[in-house]
């Protein structure tokens, strides 16, 4: 069936980036304000879902030629690696470290190892949500 979804497709091209940027914002907002890897990942998935609705699975797969299982694997490794880093300092697992740095452009910033952990969560959420969608959607 050929449907005319020019409006949806055109809007999507703009809205996708808005949602995606917002998801990045939410991701970095984490730790002190509401946000973090899980919500950020879900929002990104939402943006990708919109792409999927407007175009189709094949187009999106061509645009994002990742194996999402690998994405999950990388995410899990990041998270586990961050948590396990504490083993080398002989402090309890999951202990996180943070310090203040003065970065160009950002000024004084507080950097946490929890951030890397959250990046892992982000990747896991995106990867697993898209794997699910691919599994169900690819069949229909």
């Amino acid at each position: 069936m050929k449907t005319n979804d020019v409006i949806l497709q055109t809007t999507t091209k703009v809205v996708f980036f808005i949602i995606f940027l917002f998801s990045i914002h939410i991701f970095f907002a984490g730790h002190f304000a509401p946000g973090g890897g899980f919500v950020g990942g879900l929002l990104t998935t939402g943006a990708l879902l919109l792409l999927l609705l407007a175009f189709d699975l094949k187009t999106v797969q061509k645009a994002l030629p990742f194996n999402f299982i690998i994405v999950i694997g990388i995410g899990l490794l990041l998270s586990l690696g961050t948590a396990a880093g504490s083993i080398f300092f002989n402090v309890p697992f999951f202990t996180h470290a943070f310090d203040h740095f003065t970065l160009p452009l950002f000024g004084e910033t507080e950097l946490h190892t929890a951030m890397i952990f959250d990046a892992g969560v982000y990747l896991v959420v995106v990867g697993s949500a898209l794997t699910m969608i691919q599994t169900i959607g690819g069949d229909a």
């Binding site: 899980f38 697993s128 699910m132 599994t135 169900i136 069949d139």
Partner: protein, 113 residues
């Protein structure tokens, strides 16, 4: 407030039990979804409803909600999200294989004597 929550949770559980006892797989899955929603609300209520206070403790803040139930719910939601997605895929595959979504027809184990 607790009373209203109790009633809401009761209704959710009631609907969940009704759906789980039905024959169609899809209804059963929706039922398990409702069941876990009820359970999540129950955690929230059991932790004590903190009114409008935020679950954050900072210097000078005396009125704050218990953050633990919220953390627990988030965990439980993520888990039930994952499991529900898994069952949906499984139900779809089962439907494709067995050509039915009626649990009555999926009964039994004809291989044993």
């Amino acid at each position: 407030m607790e009373l209203i929550m109790a009633i809401v949770i009761g209704i959710l559980f009631m609907a969940a039990v009704y759906l789980i006892l039905s024959r169609s797989i899809l209804k059963i899955i929706i039922g398990t979804g409702l069941l876990s929603h009820g359970a999540h609300l129950l955690i929230l209520t059991m932790g004590g409803l903190g009114g409008i206070a935020p679950p954050v403790l900072a210097d000078g803040v005396t009125d704050y909600a218990d953050p633990l139930p919220q953390a627990l719910i988030l965990t439980a939601i993520v888990i039930s999200f994952g499991v529900t997605a898994f069952i949906l895929v499984l139900a779809y595959r089962t439907y494709a294989e067995h050509k039915t979504d009626n649990m009555n027809l999926m009964r039994g184990n004809d291989e044993h004597d």
